[in-house]
């Protein structure tokens, strides 16, 4: 494995960490986890439910926002502002740049998620005074959220490889919204007739499937997550990210930098 990808990844991580926007978002998410405790007290019998629902939703949504902002900022901005000129004049292959950025981004988000997860677990401890076996599944939900980030980062990179910073952010967010409705889209596609079936099915299957990665409600109720789902989601996320990243590489390989 050549070391340049590692260097680029580390530099990306360092840049993200030094970007103060990140801290504001993390702090906000932590505050939200704390707020979950208060909200839980309003609705009796469901403190744990609210803590898990609100906490994990915050981790998920804020993570997506961070992934998009930083992802776009880190790549589109770089191409826009020509910081790339001196990087690419070195023995760095264009594909190494894309892959390195991807690892740096996802690394940042994993650390992020970890910090926010600590907040959620502390809140959980506060309402229940102890950990129960069902809290283990919250880890599974967090893992799925990280997989979700993988896909979002890959998409952000893909769009950055050919689009302006603003449009890349818009496209990525749009796909995030659509991806959460992926199940409905597939059902809809099955209901169409004639020539439209192929088009509808194609689109429905191409859209990232975020709905399967959202198990927040289940773990809030303490339901277990089947091992098969974990396996399926892992494989899917890896494959989809690979697809988006290779697309990014292909496009970036041929791009004329301004």
């Amino acid at each position: 494995m050549n070391p340049r990808i590692g260097y680029i990844a580390f530099n990306t991580f360092r840049e993200a960490v030094r970007d103060r926007v990140l801290y504001n978002l993390i702090a906000f998410a932590l505050v939200l986890s704390g707020a979950a405790i208060i909200v839980g007290e309003i609705s009796i019998d469901i403190e744990r439910l609210v803590v898990v629902n609100l906490g994990l939703t915050a981790v998920s949504l804020f993570g997506v926002v961070i992934a998009i902002f930083i992802g776009i900022g880190l790549v589109s901005k770089e191409i826009d502002k020509r910081t790339l000129y001196t990087v690419l004049s070195r023995p760095v292959r264009r594909w190494e740049f894309v892959v390195g950025k991807f690892f740096g981004l996802t690394g940042t988000l994993v650390v992020n998620t970890f910090l926010m997860a600590v907040g959620v677990f502390l809140a959980l401890l506060y309402v229940n005074n102890k950990f129960e076996r069902m809290d283990l599944w919250v880890l599974a939900a967090l893992y799925f959220i990280v997989l979700q980030f993988l896909i979002v980062c890959a998409l952000a990179l893909f769009f950055s490889s050919f689009s302006t910073p603003l449009m890349s952010a818009v496209f990525t967010f749009a796909l995030f919204v659509i991806g959460n409705l992926a199940e409905d889209m597939r059902a809809l596609a099955r209901a169409t007739h004639g020539a439209a079936v192929w088009l509808a099915t194609g689109i429905a299957y191409l859209v990232p499937n975020f709905s399967a990665l959202n198990v927040i409600s289940q773990v809030a109720h303490g339901d277990p997550i089947p091992a098969r789902l974990i396996l399926y989601n892992t494989v899917y996320a890896l494959l989809y990210s690979a697809m988006a990243i290779s697309g990014a590489v292909l496009i970036f390989q041929r791009r004329n930098l301004k």
Binding site: S89, V92, L257
Partner: protein, 350 residues
């Protein structure tokens, strides 16, 4: 072995909003630079200098032709470890300090970890940034950024260095330092290819120069050759309040500034001119042959030939007509094109 061989490298862009038509940013360029040379690439803004460099660096892809750097194909990544590049108005990662940036770039260039930090310090020293080594780049002035740019270009001890307008943004002191640096590089046996539109720098530093204008290489020549050869004229400077009539009779072109007169005469008239001064009791300051300067060569190369002139005029007429027909401004999406049009309107820059 030639350090740089450019073989009919060509770049055209599609411009226009609705109907895209090709605009040639670089006509087929053929140029060879020998190892150990310092080569100056001269031309006004928008001539194609930056385009050429971007093509050679692989930042932009040619529409035709190719180039070889240090004997290898230009898109060979291995060759990049032997090349240094300083772009025009460089941007760097704001959040890093100078030291961190150089270290990062050193990593990417394959500078071995063992001596890397020592080398980084050495480079910082060389460009005069040792004091600000730990400061974040977002706080750097333009001149300081330029120095960082130079440092990162030579950090990994490349054999071939490309500099795009290296003097831009520097004060006279800074420019002096850069000149010294280029001299040093030359004495280290490196090949330096730099673009500029400041002719005095080129005169002082380069072995050879090439003049490019409107995407076309107009001329290449060795500086020494271009600047020798008198034009058969002499220049005589003396103290006087006005130009003596007898001097003008000899065919002199003269100019008064303050209490001095500056006259240029054919060299055959040298003795006659001295005779005039003696007769009029005027004090001589200096007498020297007029040397052809690089500026003249440059301007001459920039002047369009008759054929080219007609072509340009025709194109302009067509553009006019098109604009009147559509009643809209065809905004060029290509930055080079825009810059070039600006230049055409301003006239030839120097």
């Amino acid at each position: 072995m030639a350090a740089i061989e450019i073989l009919d490298l060509e770049k055209s862009y599609l411009v226009g909003f609705w109907r895209k038509r090709p605009k040639l940013a670089l006509r087929p360029l053929r140029l060879t630079i020998e190892a150990g040379e310092v080569f100056g690439f001269l031309g006004p803004n928008g001539a194609g200098k930056t385009t050429t460099l971007k093509l050679l660096m692989g930042l932009v892809f040619p529409t035709a032709g190719t180039a070889r750097l240090l004997g290898r194909a230009m898109d060979d990544p291995a060759v990049k470890s032997q090349i240094g590049f300083l772009p025009e108005q460089p941007y760097f990662y704001d959040h890093l300090s100078a030291r961190e940036l150089l270290n990062y770039y050193g990593q990417l260039s394959g500078v071995p970890a063992k001596g890397r930090s020592a080398r980084v310090e050495q480079m910082l020293e060389r460009v005069g940034l040792s004091d600000s080594a730990g400061v974040q780049l977002r706080k750097f002035s333009k001149g300081m950024l330029q120095r960082v740019g130079l440092a990162q270009a030579i950090l990994h001890d490349p054999k071939l260095v490309f500099l795009d307008e290296p003097m831009s943004g520097l004060d006279p002191m800074g420019r002096r330092e850069v000149r010294d640096l280029i001299q040093q590089l030359r004495s280290e046996g490196k090949t330096v290819f730099f673009s500029t539109h400041i002719l005095s720098d080129a005169e002082a530093l380069c072995d050879r120069v090439g003049v490019i204008h409107q995407g076309e290489l107009r001329g290449v020549g060795a500086v020494a050759e271009l600047m020798t050869g008198t034009q058969g004229k002499i220049e005589i400077i003396f103290y006087a309040q006005k130009v003596p009539a007898s001097l003008t009779a000899l065919g002199a072109e003269a100019r008064v500034s303050g209490d001095m007169v500056n006259a240029v005469l054919p060299e055959e008239q040298q003795d006659a001119a001295l005779e005039v001064l003696r007769r009029e009791h005027l004090k001589l300051i200096s007498l020297a042959p007029v040397r052809r300067s690089l500026e003249e060569y440059y301007i001459q190369k920039l002047r369009p030939t008759e054929v080219q002139n007609t072509e340009v005029q025709n194109e302009e007429k067509q553009n006019e007509a098109r604009r009147n027909r559509n009643g809209q401004n065809e905004a060029a999406t290509d930055e080079d094109l825009r810059k070039e049009k600006q230049e055409d309107r301003k006239g030839v820059g120097a």
